[in-house]
């Protein structure tokens, strides 16, 4: 009898691995997170880089530094003859 050969697409394989990784992370303990953060030099305070992309944007945006509405109003005033 011939052995059945099952071919797995790379996408299916990737999905299974990502699901398994996600499950591992769901089960990770606070202690493990804390230990890794300490290794990375993160102190896990509110504005720690660990929270980049979570409680504040990972990439700084123009609106973080400038009041764009005020800037636009100013540009309109400048444009007026």
């Amino acid at each position: 009898m011939r052995t059945k050969v099952k071919t797995i697409t790379s996408e299916a394989k990737l999905t299974r691995i990502l699901d398994a990784f996600a499950q591992e992370l769901v089960e990770s303990s606070d202690e493990e997170i804390f230990a890794v953060a300490t290794d990375l030099g993160m102190d896990l305070q509110k504005w720690s880089s660990a929270f980049a992309g979570v409680t504040y944007p990972a990439r700084p945006q123009l609106s973080d530094f400038f009041d764009l509405e005020a800037l636009q109003a100013r540009l309109l005033i400048d444009k007026k003859p």
Partner: protein, 192 residues
């Protein structure tokens, strides 16, 4: 004159935190999971967007948490379905261009337009690149690589242990190392 209106935009993660739906550690867990599920998605779909979108769905109540499921596991499920949604939409968009017409004895009224249900070459290539990046991430840990290979084939823990000849202790310590590597990768401040 200072504005009377507070124009700050509160992020869904901050709202979820304020409402005690999650704590800080849960948010960090979810950040690492969002980064896992963002693997292989195009650059315009960031892990940050996936995470905030998943939390928004919880906040607006479009997804309801079943009893007995932790919030982290629940949001992880939403992240997974957001990823699947993205690919479904991408396949549908490409189906509009890549279709095969099957004519029934030249009768135009019976012609069927079918799209190819298999992943396109672009998606397959992206998956191969991601698999290679994952192998690279665990390159220093051959045991972890063998476990990952087994996971990719859909094997259960017991089957992986049997096929690799790993003892339960070795398997568990390898999983612990893998978790640590994933946390390390997920907590860094790289935007993607």
């Amino acid at each position: 004159m200072p504005s009377l209106v507070d124009k700050r935009v509160i992020r869904p993660a901050q709202t979820a935190l304020a409402l005690d739906l999650v704590n800080e550690m849960d948010l960090l867990r979810l950040k690492t999971i969002a980064r896992v599920y963002a693997r292989g998605l195009p650059p315009e779909v960031t892990w940050e967007d996936l995470l905030q979108e998943a939390l928004t769905r919880v906040l607006v109540g479009s997804r309801l948490r079943p009893e007995g499921v932790t919030m982290v596991a629940f949001v992880a499920g939403i992240l997974r379905s957001l990823r699947a949604d993205y690919w479904r939409r991408a396949v549908r968009a490409s189906a509009n261009t890549d279709t095969v017409r099957i004519d029934h004895e030249s009768d135009e009224s019976l012609a069927i337009v079918m799209s190819d249900p298999s992943p396109g070459p672009e998606r397959a290539l992206v998956a191969l690149q991601e698999l290679s990046a994952i192998r690279q991430l665990f390159a220093a840990d051959p045991t972890a690589l063998r476990i990952i290979e087994g996971l990719g084939q859909g094997l259960l823990a017991e089957q992986i242990r049997r096929s690799t000849g790993l003892s339960k202790t070795d398997y568990d310590s390898a999983r612990k190392r893998m978790r640590r590597t994933l946390l390390r990768e997920g907590l860094t401040c790289e935007p993607r």
